[in-house]
Symmetry: C2
Subunit: 215 residues, 2 copies
Amino acid sequence: MSTAEETAGGEAQPWGEVTPDAARRLLLAAVEAFAERGYHATTTRDIAGRAGMSPAALYIHYKTKEELLHRISRIGHEKAVEILRTAARTEGTPAERLADAVSSFVRWHAGGRTTAKVVQYELDSLGPDARAEILGLRRQVDAEVRGIIEEGVRSGDFDVADVRGTTLAVLSLCIDVARWFNVDGPRTPEEVGELYADLVLRMVGARGDGAVRRP
Amino acid sequence: MSTAEETAGGEAQPWGEVTPDAARRLLLAAVEAFAERGYHATTTRDIAGRAGMSPAALYIHYKTKEELLHRISRIGHEKAVEILRTAARTEGTPAERLADAVSSFVRWHAGGRTTAKVVQYELDSLGPDARAEILGLRRQVDAEVRGIIEEGVRSGDFDVADVRGTTLAVLSLCIDVARWFNVDGPRTPEEVGELYADLVLRMVGARGDGAVRRP
DNA sequence: ACCGGCGCTAAGCGCCCGCTCACCCTTGCC
DNA sequence: GGCAAGGGTGAGCGGGCGCTTAGCGCCGGT
């Protein structure tokens, strides 16, 4: 009713749901710092400083430094599940849905590289409980992609020998974008998304898509 | 002349070239600790403890904690270049050489996951000079794979629209194995290597390999 | 038998970490 | 205007960090 809830276009700004404004600024500062230097190398003083506050202010909104990472990780993973679920539920052939899933997932990793890096690579910095919770979300991510591939195999659109292994490889390819993508590099997130969608369609042996393969 | 220099089989034990025995034990302990907890979360006391020595002993063989990471990273990257160079220089079709490069590179990441994790994911923990040196080795890694793909395109064996982007994707796929591979999981490094070689041949549109694609 | 030197340790220095606490402004309600 | 409440601050705590230093035991050479 009040502020910043609209998801009109599709992405809007990602952290609209974090409600006290100071808490959001702190979270955003933490994302930047964690992405640049890693969780363990980031100090609470650094996070507070980036948010324009004193070190003590952090502990009004978050119990510990780890809670910051936990919150970031959960929100990020929920977004990832949402992206893949949306692609999986649209209408179209398995090939179209897989291409949609891969290109939007890659766009998210490339465009929001800062967030994605923290979400994908700082999992081990969480304690056992938080870690276990996040692993549940990762299983959902895997299940969405595997579902599309399985359906393509059943319908004969895909030719895949090892469905679980190929699913893993497809996700791995998308996730690793967060490691190497460079905002100042030669490619836009959209271009990488398209390239990767083509590559993945080839990986699953999709008929009649991507490259010229019609006799 | 004296000890442990033979590379007979191909891999032997990886750290044979680190000469004072205590220095090698420290390096091995550092690899384990960095892989488990990350560079910044690892203490020099932990490294020395794993090697069965006092904290001060570390500084007899290494100037700083960062020098340990630097040494590990350089040795690992040199091994990576060597693996790819060997595959690129063998005789055979581009498809055979690419499959060889991918499967052996993946085997290295999966089998030596501990080392590979440190080598591939702790680059940013190095200082600017060491980082720049390692980036040079990474450029060699990229060049080896790109060379094979370019040759396959020239000979008409491969069908690739974006050579640089595809090279990046192939390497990315292999490297990310170090993140997810689980020694207690269902796949051996050899199996993953074969699966990935097939997937990569499909990515480059190789004719007459891997899956049934003959009319 | 002596001894120089190397590999190693016990102790500890100075620093900065995550986090706490006592207190202070601002704001909104009566 | 009084005042409770909540967001914010300055100072600082206990502790663990990377790294140093003084000195000890062992070992090969003569």
